[in-house]
Symmetry: C2
Subunit: 408 residues, 2 copies
């Protein structure tokens, strides 16, 4: 690593106070997987009865821990579960050695904790293509098991960082028929000073009660409008993983409960936004709203084409109200669009309508708007009711510095 990056200008003021989730404990250790003088492993233990749902990268070259965790999701929940995460090495593109490492880690956690190994979920994040020194991690498992604490979630958020510039956490606290239900989550991602550390990892815990199938359905539905709606540079990690664990310790069954669904969605979106705010070189946080598309799928295609366009993102970095590049991105996306029905807004300023610059367009006001740190670009296709909102950051010299100029 060597070089320490300054904290992103878009970072929250402080790590939030996260509630204790009954049925979940954490511990962290410095195993020396790759980094010196910092924690790099976290172990979370989940009480018997916990349901675990998840979502993973769709990459065709996904890493061994991802394949293993995906296969275990449907498993029984009456025996507790464990989540073991290391930073510094992604255990990705490591051939059969990758599977060997995952199996060794899961067996060791099972031996130390008594949790069956088909309920041990692992994630690894860091360099690609190097064999994971799993014995270093196994060597700290006794300590990790002994040190478990219900209040160590912030330590866990720090241990899973690679080149993130700040730890990421979010929570919600709702009341269901007078009984409190809590959600707390942590994430890492998008600060890529060293090559191939793009991985986004997210762990969310709740004391709500829900069976695994219902929880999985809820999570799968919500991921589309949160983690699958953000982009930093259009490149997809081989290791992205999200796990949501419901311990049931509140005694409140939230199956079908809209308040819980909204609260979980809020925590997921908050963490997703924090990942964008820590995007490499980011100086602006940008919301891209697409409405009036033929359908929601087309709206997403347009929104992601805008959010991923290097020309749109460099224009934002340059504080240039360059709506022509938004037109270009819509045109190239492949989804339905009619040039002469298009309208585009930067914030509340209508910049283009009916296939042409808006008669109200004022270059000076548009340029003044672009100086803000948080921007909204809105496009209405004028075709139907499809809509989607995506979040991205700008493309700056900082991105080139981080990804071209250094190597760990």
């Amino acid at each position: 690593m060597g070089k320490t990056l300054a904290v992103s200008p878009l970072a929250p003021a402080a790590f939030p106070d996260l509630p204790v989730i009954d049925g979940v404990t954490f511990a962290t250790a410095a195993a020396g997987v790759r980094y010196a003088r910092r924690t790099d492993v976290m172990l979370a233990l989940l009480a018997p009865g916990t349901a675990v749902a998840g979502a993973f990268t769709k990459s065709a070259t996904r890493a061994a821990p991802v394949l293993d965790a995906q296969a275990k999701l449907g498993g029984a929940s009456n025996s507790g579960a464990a989540i073991l995460v290391n930073s510094g090495n992604a255990n990705a593109f490591t051939g059969s050695a990758g599977q060997t490492s995952v199996a060794a880690l899961c067996a060791a956690v099972a031996g130390t904790t008594g949790i069956p190994d088909n309920r041990v979920f692992t994630s690894s994040t860091g360099v690609i293509g190097e064999v994971l020194p799993h014995s270093k991690i196994i060597a700290v498992l006794d300590d990790l098991t002994a040190a478990q604490s219900a209040t160590a979630i912030k330590d866990a958020a720090r241990a899973i960082m690679t080149t993130d510039t700040f730890p990421k956490g979010a929570s919600a606290d709702i009341s269901v028929n007078g009984t409190p239900v809590r959600i707390a989550g942590i994430a890492k991602g998008s600060g890529m000073i060293a090559p191939d550390m793009a991985t986004m990892l997210v762990y969310i815990f709740t004391d709500a009660q829900m069976d695994q199938a219902a929880l999985q359905a809820l999570v799968s539905g919500q991921v589309e409008r949160s983690f699958n709606a953000i982009t930093v540079d259009s490149d997809t990690s081989t290791s992205d993983s999200l796990l949501v664990a419901a311990t049931g310790k509140s005694g409140v069954d939230v199956t079908g409960n809209a308040d819980f669904a909204d609260a979980l969605a809020g925590v997921m979106l908050d963490l997703a936004h924090q990942v964008v705010r820590d995007g490499e070189g980011a100086s602006k946080f940008v919301e891209v709203q697409v409405t009036g598309a033929a359908n929601d799928r087309d709206a997403k295609t347009h929104a992601m084409a805008i959010a991923n366009s290097p020309l749109v993102k460099t224009a934002i970095a340059g504080e240039d109200a360059n709506w022509g590049r938004v037109v270009m991105a819509i045109g190239k996306s492949g989804a339905a669009a009619d040039r002469d029905l298009l309208s585009i807004w930067f914030g509340n300023l209508k910049v283009a309508e009916k296939g042409w610059v808006s008669p109200d367009y004022d270059e000076e006001r548009a340029s003044a708007y672009m100086k803000a740190q948080e921007l909204v670009i809105r496009v209405d296709l004028g075709l139907g009711t499809g809509q989607f909102t995506a979040w991205t950051c700008d493309l700056t010299h900082g991105y080139i510095d981080i990804n071209a100029d250094y190597r760990s």
Copy 2:
């Protein structure tokens, strides 16, 4: 404009000597569309009997001249034809005013030259969203018609430049049963200092004889492996246009002639490579070869995912032999891949095989290879016989400078 860019380090040593094509003449003028003190309009006149084929941007927001030219391609060829091109203004996203300008220009060329207006093809390249001042162009049409010259093709290549750093030309000279047949082409594209000047324009002329339908079929087939196989930044212009004009003046019918097809493919590929060599901020020219894919379509998907990946392109800029990012790009592309069958080469150096780093991998040799100005990245999927080769450039601070820091 204001700022003049240095010529790309990847530019050819000099503009090539292009052969005169019997049946084609050119003239250029300084109409003052946007630029001062340079030519910005070119008019090419094509003899009666000329067949004109073409290929255009697939953008859903394509510009008025593109829509007009596309509609005219199938037209009769016994009355000659004209190609009128201006730089400085793209006449894109200009609503009904865009169509009015195109109609006015075509009618004026018809009036001045006697060529029917359904045989007048126009292209415009430059800023998006501003009405084309077509009367400035109409004012120079008499001069352009009077000044026609068979040897002015290099002047034409210069007049169509926007922020290109060098004019682009290529040619071929073959013999068919002892009779010479010549091809000469010019192109502009990819030097985008001012916003929204991404347009690629290509004009190729030959004295070969071929009917329009056969020429169109040949061009449509060849564009896939040349202009549709290059990328600078994954962003697609609203105005990309290629026209191929066959005057027939050699008297040689080349329908079905493999030598002619190869020569035309060579000219197209040469011009396509020159566009990449003038990519914004480019310091490396990169060939991405994909073999062993399930089919050619999948091979193209993988090749373009690698060629468009910001992480791959920044690694190349940093002369970092970062094969892990190539694995990532293959994984995210969506086309079929099996991690454990993948092999990757940088030049002749095998860096990865069977889902892992190659046992022969030598970091020092790989790093030395990355210092070259021209690089080859080869991927074999190990799945089938599908193959595709794409060309790209690196992503440097120069790209950010050009697209974020300046505005015309």
